[in-house]
C-alpha cells in the first residue's frame, strides 16, 4: 500500500492511497461508526457468553460455563414441576379402585387426558392412533371384546399382556394349529370354515356347513361355544358376530384354523407405572365399547 491517500475533489472523499494499474484508486469509505460499534459490542457479548454459558465443543465434552446453565437440567426441572403439579390427581388415582375413577369427574378428566397421551406413546403403533385397530390388532372402539371389556378386564390385559413370555400372569390361550399340526383334514377345515360362516348367517354352501357342524362340535365348541358365542374367560372370540380380528372371508377363516393365529401383546406393567396403566384403562374403556 502506498502511504496516505489524497483528497478527491469530485467526490469529496479521501482515497485509501492504494493504486492499481497506474491510476485506479480506491475511495476511503469506512464502515459506519454505529455499525462498527455494534460489531464490537457483539464480539464482547460473545466472549462474555463463552465464559458464562456452555459454548465450545471439546473432543468428549464441552465447556460448561460459569453459570452452570444447562437446558437439559431446565427441562428436567420443568418435567419435575409438571409431575408435582399432577401429584394431587396421580395420588388420588393411585389410591382409587379402577371402578371408582370414572365416577369422579376430576379424576375422569385427568385419566382421559393422561390415558390419551399414553395411548399415543405406547399403544398407537399397533392399535392405531384412533384405536381403530388393524388386521390382527383389535379395534378398541367396538363392543366386541376377546378378553372382556369391563374396567377390571381391560386393566388386567394391559398389565399382563397376551401370550407374553415376559409375564407369568399373562392372558394365555392357544388355539391348536389344526392344519399345520395335521389335527384335521383339509376338507374338514374347509367344511368347518363354512360352518363358522353360517353362524353369522353368511354361508353360501349349506351342505358344506352341515358337514362342518359335526367337526365344529368336536373340535371348536369347547372353547368357542355351541353357537360360536365365544368365551371371554378363555379368550375365545365370538364367531357369530360381525367383527373379525383376522378377517371374515372364508380364506381368512381357513388360515385361522390352519395356524391357530395367537397374537401377542406385551405386558405393560413393568414398563408403565400403575397410575398410567389405570389412565390407559379408563381411556380405552371410554372409547365407546366399554362394558
Amino acid at each position: 500500500m502506498a502511504d496516505k491517500g489524497r483528497f478527491d475533489e469530485a467526490t469529496g472523499t479521501h482515497t485509501t492511497g492504494h493504486v492499481w494499474d497506474d491510476d485506479l484508486e480506491e475511495l476511503n469509505k469506512p464502515l459506519p461508526k454505529w455499525w462498527l460499534y455494534v460489531l464490537y459490542a457483539c464480539i464482547i457479548w460473545a466472549i462474555v457468553y463463552w465464559v458464562l454459558y456452555p459454548s465450545w465443543p471439546m473432543m468428549t465434552d464441552y465447556t460448561k460455563g460459569t453459570l452452570g446453565f444447562s437446558q437439559r437440567a431446565l427441562v428436567m426441572e420443568q418435567v419435575a414441576a409438571g409431575k408435582a403439579a399432577q401429584a394431587k390427581f396421580r395420588d388420588a388415582i393411585a389410591k382409587a379402585e379402577i371402578s371408582e375413577i370414572p365416577k369422579k369427574p376430576e379424576l375422569l378428566n385427568f385419566a382421559l387426558a393422561g390415558g390419551k397421551a399414553a395411548f399415543g406413546d405406547n399403544c398407537a403403533p399397533c392399535h392405531g392412533r384412533g384405536a381403530q385397530g388393524f388386521k390382527g390388532y383389535p379395534n378398541l372402539n367396538d363392543d366386541d371384546w376377546i378378553w372382556g371389556g369391563d374396567l377390571e378386564a381391560i386393566q388386567t390385559t394391559i398389565r399382563h399382556g397376551i401370550r407374553s413370555n415376559a409375564d407369568d400372569d399373562t392372558r394365555a390361550s392357544d388355539m391348536p394349529k389344526f392344519g399345520e399340526e395335521d389335527l384335521l383334514e383339509k376338507a374338514q377345515i374347509k367344511d368347518v370354515a363354512e360352518y363358522v360362516l353360517s353362524l353369522g348367517g353368511s354361508s353360501k354352501d349349506a351342505d358344506a356347513a352341515a358337514r362342518g357342524k359335526e367337526v365344529y362340535a368336536e373340535n371348536c365348541a369347547s372353547c368357542h361355544g355351541e353357537n360360536g358365542e365365544g368365551n371371554q374367560e378363555l379368550g375365545a372370540p365370538n364367531l357369530a358376530d360381525a367383527i373379525w380380528l383376522y378377517g371374515g372371508d372364508k380364506a381368512d377363516i381357513v388360515t385361522s384354523i390352519n395356524t391357530g393365529r395367537g397374537g401377542v401383546m406385551p405386558p405393560w406393567s413393568p414398563r408403565l407405572d400403575d397410575v398410567t396403566i389405570k389412565q390407559l384403562t379408563v381411556y380405552v374403556h371410554s372409547l365407546g365399547g366399554g362394558k
Binding site: G130, Q132, N139, N141, D143, N238, D241, A242, I243, G288
Partner: protein, 522 residues
C-alpha cells in the same frame, strides 16, 4: 400557489451536507421587530431549505405559548391523562364469578371487559368494529380540521408536551434552555439536566405502571407492586412501557411524528381544499418585514417577521413556508402570533385555521365560505352511525350460547358386533350467560325410514341426560351415536346428513348444528 395537500414541500437533496443552522448559538436578539417586540434572529430548525436527506438532529426548544389553543391543549392533556390513569380503577359489578373491573383485558381467561360488554376471544371482531369506528372518526375530523388528533390528542403529543412542561419548569423557558445547552458543564447544569431526566423517568415509570393495570385487577396489582409480589411479567412490561415513553416522549419527540409515524403520510389523502388547517395567511402577511413605530402599514404585510411562530413550534418548522408534512397542527403558532398582533394593534388570526380555498381567494381580495358538508364529510357522517348501528345490532343479538359439533375422523365409524355402526362426536357447548344452564341433546334429520340412533353421552348415565354448563364457561361432551344393522342397510350413502339439537331446558330455546353420520362404503 397550488396549495393542495399533495404539493408538500419535499426535502431538498441538493443541500445535503450544508446544514449549517445551529439554533443553539444563533438565537440572539437582533433589534426589534416592532416597538416593544423582540426580533429573534433564528432560522427554523426544520425550515424548508434545511432539510437534507440525512442530518443530525438539532434540539428544538419550544418557547411557551399563551392563548386559547394553548389553554385548549392543557385541557385536552388533563382530560386524556385523567382518562388514562383513572380508567383501570373504575369498577363494574358483574356478579361474584367475574372480575369487577370496568375495563379489563383479561388474557388469562381470554376475555375483554368494557363495562357491560364482555368480548370472548372468538368475538374479537367487535374490537375490529371499535377500531373501524375510531378510524372513521379520525377521518372525519381530519377532513374537517386537519390533524386535530396529532395536535391535541395523540399520546405522542400529550406526553411530549408534558415532558417539555417539566423541562421548562426545571430549566426555564426557551432562552434559558438555549443558554444552558450552550453553557460549559457545571454543577448547576448537571443538576438541572439530571433532575429533568429523573422526573421524565418517573413519569415514564408511572405511565408504564398505569398501562399494566388494564391487564389485571388494578387494586390487586397495585398491592402486589407495593409488596413486591407482582408477577415478573408485570415488571417487564412496566419497564418496556417506561423505556418507550422516555425514549419517544423525552428524547425522540418530533422525530417520531416526522420520521416514524405513518399518519402524516396518510393524512394528505384525508383532507382537501375545504379542510380547516393551521395556515399562515400569506396574502395578508406579505411582504413581511420589521415595523417601526409610526411607520405606515400601507403597502406592506402584517407579518413583522418576529419569528414568534417559529420559536413556539414543537416540530421546529416555519408555518409561513406553507403546509408541511412536519406540521402537527397544534395551533401554538396561532396563539403566539395573536399575542403579537394584539401588541402591535393589528387584527388577530394572521395565522389561523383556514382552508386552502379561502387562502387562495384571499389572494385576489375575496373570501370563500367554509364548507363543512362536502361529499367526503357527508360520507363519513353517514358511515359512522351505520357502523355504530351495525355493531349495536350485533351486540343486542349476540348469542349467549355457542354450539360446535366435531365429528371423529379417526376412525370415521366403528363397526359393532351386531353389524351396526357407531359414530363419535365431540360437542362443545359455550355458555356465555353468567348463570349455570342445563341442556339436553337430541338428533334429528335422518331419513324418515331410519330409526333414531341411540345417543350415548360419555360420563352420563340413563336416557336423555341433562348436561349442566357452568356460567361463562365451555363444556366439551363426547357423544356416540349407534345405529343397528337394520338401519345401516337402509341408508343410501356412506355419509348421511344429521342434525344435533341442543335444547336449553331452562327456556326451551334450541340450537341446531348439522353434521354427518358415516357408515361403511356400499
Amino acid at each position: 400557489m397550488s396549495n393542495t395537500p399533495d404539493s408538500y414541500v419535499m426535502p431538498k437533496t441538493a443541500s445535503a451536507g450544508s446544514h449549517a443552522t445551529d439554533s443553539a448559538t444563533a438565537d440572539t436578539h437582533q433589534g426589534q421587530a416592532a416597538p416593544g417586540i423582540d426580533r429573534h434572529d433564528v432560522e427554523a430548525v426544520n425550515a424548508v431549505e434545511n432539510r437534507p436527506l440525512y442530518a443530525d438532529r438539532v434540539a428544538i426548544h419550544p418557547k411557551r405559548a399563551k392563548g386559547t389553543f394553548r389553554n385548549l391543549k392543557w385541557l385536552v392533556m388533563a382530560l386524556t391523562l385523567g382518562v388514562y390513569y383513572v380508567t383501570p380503577w373504575l369498577r363494574w359489578d358483574r356478579g361474584p364469578a367475574l372480575p369487577d373491573q370496568a375495563v379489563l383485558i383479561d388474557f388469562a381467561n381470554q376475555r375483554l371487559f368494557f363495562g357491560p360488554m364482555e368480548i370472548w376471544a372468538q368475538e374479537f371482531y367487535y374490537v375490529t368494529g371499535l377500531l373501524v369506528l375510531a378510524s372513521l372518526a379520525l377521518f372525519l375530523v381530519t377532513a374537517l380540521a386537519g390533524r386535530v388528533w396529532c395536535g391535541y390528542a395523540c399520546p405522542q403529543t400529550v406526553w411530549t408536551d408534558l415532558f417539555i412542561m417539566v423541562e421548562r419548569f426545571i430549566q426555564g423557558d426557551r432562552n434559558a434552555r438555549l443558554r444552558l445547552q450552550k453553557a460549559p458543564w457545571s454543577a448547576d447544569k448537571i443538576w438541572k439536566i439530571s433532575i429533568t431526566h429523573a422526573i421524565w423517568l418517573l413519569i415514564s415509570v408511572l405511565t408504564g405502571g398505569a398501562l399494566v393495570f388494564y391487564f389485571r385487577d388494578a387494586p390487586t396489582l397495585a398491592y402486589e407492586f407495593a409488596t413486591g409480589t407482582a408477577p415478573y411479567i408485570a415488571y417487564v412490561f412496566v419497564g418496556v412501557f417506561a423505556a418507550t415513553t422516555y425514549l419517544l416522549g423525552g428524547l425522540a419527540r418530533e422525530q417520531v411524528c416526522i420520521y416514524m409515524c405513518p399518519w402524516p403520510r396518510i393524512q394528505g389523502a384525508m383532507f382537501d381544499d375545504h379542510s380547516l388547517l393551521v395556515s399562515y395567511r400569506e396574502a395578508r402577511g406579505e411582504p413581511r418585514g420589521p415595523h417601526k413605530k409610526n411607520d405606515t402599514w400601507e403597502g406592506r404585510g402584517d407579518c413583522i417577521d418576529c419569528k414568534q411562530c417559529v420559536v413556539v413550534c414543537p416540530v421546529g418548522i416555519d408555518i409561513r413556508d406553507g403546509p408541511q408534512l412536519e406540521c402537527i397542527q397544534c395551533a401554538l403558532c396561532v396563539d403566539a402570533c395573536n399575542e403579537i398582533m394584539g401588541k402591535i394593534g393589528r387584527p388577530g388570526n394572521l395565522i389561523a385555521y383556514d382552508t386552502f380555498h379561502n387562502l387562495e381567494a384571499a389572494k385576489t381580495g375575496g373570501t370563500a365560505p367554509v364548507k363543512i358538508f362536502r361529499p367526503r364529510t357527508i360520507l363519513y357522517m353517514v358511515v359512522i352511525p351505520a357502523v355504530l348501528a351495525l355493531m349495536t345490532y350485533g351486540w343486542v343479538n349476540r348469542s349467549e350460547l355457542q354450539v360446535n359439533v366435531l365429528r371423529d375422523r379417526n376412525p370415521l365409524f366403528v363397526r359393532l358386533s351386531d353389524g351396526g355402526v357407531r359414530n363419535g362426536y365431540t360437542v362443545k357447548i359455550l355458555n356465555k350467560r353468567h348463570e349455570t344452564r342445563t341442556f339436553s341433546i337430541d338428533v334429528e334429520g335422518l331419513p324418515p325410514a331410519i330409526e333414531k340412533p341411540k345417543i350415548t353421552l360419555v360420563g352420563f348415565a340413563g336416557d336423555n341426560p341433562r348436561v349442566d354448563v357452568a356460567p361463562d364457561n365451555l363444556r366439551a361432551l363426547r357423544i356416540y351415536l349407534s345405529m343397528p344393522a337394520s338401519s345401516v342397510k337402509k341408508l343410501t350413502s356412506d355419509a348421511t346428513d344429521l342434525t344435533f339439537v341442543v335444547t336449553d331446558t331452562g327456556n326451551g330455546s334450541q340450537t341446531r348444528r348439522g353434521t354427518l353420520i358415516r357408515t361403511p362404503k356400499r
